[in-house]
Amino acid sequence: MTRKRRRLVLISSALGVLAVAVALILSALKDSIVFFNSPTDVVEKHVAPGSRIRLGGLVRDGSVVRGSDLAVRFEVTDGANTIAVAYQGILPDLFREGQGVVTEGVLDPSGTFKADSVLAKHDEKYMPKEVADALKKSGHWKENEGTGPQARTQ
């Protein structure tokens, strides 16, 4: 094999692997990423029922209703708009009324958000960044909101 051909094999195999990687990334980008929406986004952007999204905001005070077999309903609000959420399963330790939450799932045709996961926050001090930004955008952000129960107990 000549030098030229060796170089050609090397370069074309490199390009081949690279092309595979790029193709995989592009196809994955099409259908495996999930957009974050606040309740206002859901209303304004007319998110289509059935498409997978993340919904984040505050759990509205007094909205949590527990059913049988670990079913739970609550409302997520950003102050301007409110979306009802239905979930079945165990809620994260830090799920509380009035606190930030991020849920993932699909909107059903009646407008209820069927969540299949409610994301755990790692720390009581931490308000999910997306939620904080959404609240700031809707004008319902209060400076001490992100500090959670700790600030209140002291």
């Binding site: 170089r7 595979v20 990334i25 990423i33 809620l91 330790d93 930004d133």
Partner: protein
């Protein structure tokens, strides 16, 4: 007094770092051996002072000196001693000091064990290492000083984040940092080579052990982090494709590629420029990881505090080092003497293929991690890139890589015989085929991919063993002869085989856990039982307990397998009054390679309790595989070849050579 001592020691370390960053490099240009020899002394001195500083910080935590702000914020006098010690690095300031401590440790190791390095190379390597030290010492002193005092000392601390009150904090960060920061040495070697303008087989021989060392620790650190997340978060997952996890996976992939390409540079004096690039890349990705985790760009348990000044400072360090390294690379790499090209079908060719796959896999992880951040900056749109993305991009590339892995070590250098190797792998392929058939038969229906995945893992396992079996003549010669030969085999051959087998073992664990696991989420009343996979979980009731700094509600479950009593599991919930938070302590029971896993949800007023129960077959193999990989790293490190160094004459000549400029 102690905090001031620690602070002062760190300032002294900074001054030593400044000397080390300039004098030896200047000496190397002037070929002044006296100036160059300064590096060794300052490197050891730096380590001593940073260690003193770190010891002072730990002392503050052990004594619960709440006049120190970080101690007040992150410690509590009622915590057990072990957590008092570990909480020293369970926060931003302390963890950065640990980072710098390990950086200084690696510098000192090069100074102590680098006796056989040419003077100029050693001086430059330690000089570059010290540039990094200067940057991070300044970062700590200017933005993240762990020794700041509070005017009026509070009586009690605010406690450590309860999630971090775990033995994992004692193990995971030090191991991970040993890996992350370990790549600073290969980075320094790469920059030193660019400054000197020469890379040869001897250079690669010095770089490889450091890359191996860092890689081994990083492998263990990632595995430990994964296990910690698995048992502590209560979701039963062991890998979430969380950006923080990806931050450690990226340098691991680049480092793995570096290990393999340095082999080609060492053995065949080729791929030099590529190896340098990988060395720069591995540490750059470590820095990117540090930035992502520490700057507050991402909110997670690892982002202890988000202070914009810190984020910008780290971003500046990042830009300076990565930008500088790549600029130097673009400028100097062309003058490095190119090695020869080689036949595509050869050991070198196989290693290039390995590098292509690893780097592509790394690129998909980098893309998936950074794309959401970039998109938000550009369009304001927030997205999450999760497991489906990585399964669809990283997965296929890694599958291709794993098909190729057993071929590599069996191909000869220079010119290999692909058909011959395929014939030698017949045994492995036969085992794989049997595995596929058996899995098909047992599974019946189910996803078609599963039997093939099992086949791939078995093929990889047997393929890695093939080389050992052939070289020891096992199955052909008497066992005693084979054993004698096994002892005579170079350790690096064992290392390769173990590392590759570890990969196969991890793969088996992943398949078992994801495909054959069972999960139940339900509410149970005392006396009720739940069952999965012939295991009965009977809920006996709850007991309340008082821990040192928490209140605990534990639920007792009696476990029976096919009716026989096998044990008791006690998952619990802990409430930490000082922080007003709860943690979930999952209960685990290991049965062979499988684990039973229970974590608790909420307690209802009627005494029933929400539980998650998992049966996870083969799950232990995931981490066992990582440990086998790390064992491979240790075996390779103990190879005689790496301890003895390059032939003497070549080194004398290189040491005496004039600067290449």
């Amino acid at each position: 007094m102690i905090p001031e001592l620690g602070h002062f020691a760190l300032v002294l370390a900074l001054f030593l770092a400044l000397i080390q960053a300039t004098v030896p490099v200047f000496g190397a240009r002037r070929n002044d051996s006296l100036l160059m020899s300064v590096a060794g002394t300052t490197a050891i001195g730096q380590f001593c002072f940073v260690a003193l500083s770190f010891a002072a910080l730990v002392a503050c935590y052990v004594q619960s000196d709440f006049s120190v702000e970080t101690v007040f914020e992150n410690s509590h006098s009622a915590m057990p001693l072990i957590y008092k010690i570990t909480s020293a690095w369970g926060n931003h300031e302390g963890s950065m000091l640990l980072w710098v401590l390990i950086l200084a440790l690696f510098g000192a190791l090069v100074a102590v064990f680098g006796g056989n390095l040419p003077d100029r190379l050693k001086a430059n390597v330690l000089g570059v290492q010290s540039w990094i030290a200067v940057a991070f010492d300044l970062f700590i002193l200017l933005t993240s000083n762990p020794f700041l005092r509070i005017a009026e000392a509070p009586l009690e601390g605010r406690d450590l984040n309860p999630l971090l009150q775990d033995l994992g904090l004692a193990i995971h960060p030090p191991l991970l940092y040993l890996g992350y920061v370990g790549f600073s040495i290969t980075f320094s070697f790469a920059i030193a080579a660019l400054i000197e303008g020469r890379v040869d087989a001897a250079w690669a021989r010095w770089v490889r052990p450091w890359a191996l060392l860092a890689w081994t620790f990083l492998t263990l650190g990632i595995a430990m982090g994964s296990y910690w997340a698995y048992y502590t978060l209560g979701w039963g997952g062991w890998w979430f494709w969380d950006p923080v996890e990806n931050a450690s996976l990226m340098p691991w992939l680049a480092g793995t590629a570096l290990l393999h390409s340095a082999l080609v540079t060492e053995k065949r004096n080729a791929l030099k420029i590529w190896t340098i690039l990988l060395a720069i890349l591995a540490f750059s990705l470590s820095l990117v990881g540090t930035f992502l985790v520490r700057s507050g760009v991402l909110t997670s348990v690892h982002a202890f505090a988000s202070d914009p000044a810190r984020g910008i400072f780290i971003l500046a360090i990042l830009t300076l080092f990565i930008g500088g390294a790549f600029a130097l690379y673009a400028w100097r790499a062309p003058i490095l003497k190119q090695g020869g090209l080689f036949a595509p079908i050869s050991r070198e060719g196989a290693l290039v293929l390995n590098n292509l796959f690893l780097v592509s896999a790394c690129a998909t992880v980098v893309f998936g991690t950074l794309y959401p951040l970039g998109l938000e900056v550009v369009t304001g749109e927030k997205i999450s890139v999760g497991a489906p993305f990585f399964n669809w991009t990283f997965g296929p590339i890694f599958i291709l890589l794993m098909i190729a892995v057993p071929f590599g070590p069996l191909l000869a250098w220079k010119r290999g015989d692909l058909l011959g190797v395929a014939q030698r792998l017949m045994g492995a392929m036969a085992i794989a085929t049997i595995g596929v058939a058996v899995t098909f038969a047992v599974e019946g229906g189910g996803p078609v991919l599963v039997p093939f995945a099992i086949g791939l893992a078995l093929y990889l396992l047997a393929g890695a063993a093939t080389e050992l079996i052939e070289r020891t003549g096992l199955l052909k010669v008497p066992v005693r002869t084979a054993l004698a030969r096994a002892r005579g085999l170079p350790r690096s051959a064992w290392g390769t085989a173990f590392a590759h087998m570890g990969l196969a073992i991890t793969l088996l664990g992943i398949i078992g856990e994801t495909q054959w696991g069972a999960e139940r989420i339900a509410e149970v009343k005392p006396g009720q039982a739940l069952s999965i996979r012939r295991y009965d979980f009977q809920f006996d009731g709850v007991t309340e307990r008082q821990g040192p700094n928490y209140h605990e509600v534990a639920a007792r479950f009696t476990i029976r397998h096919a009716g026989d009593f096998v044990g008791v599991m006690e998952p619990s919930k802990r409430t930490f009054p000082s922080r007003g938070t709860d943690t979930n302590e999952a209960a685990l029971m290991t049965r062979g390679f499988a684990q039973l896993y229970i974590s608790l949800g909420e307690t209802a007023p009627d005494g029933s309790i929400g539980v998650r129960i998992y049966y996870k077959p083969l799950v232990v193999l995931i981490w066992l595989g990582a440990m086998v990989m790390a064992l491979g790293g240790v075996l390779s490190l103990s190879d005689r070849r790496l301890r003895i160094g390059a032939p003497m004459p070549a080194r004398r000549k290189s040491a005496a050579m004039q600067p290449a400029e």
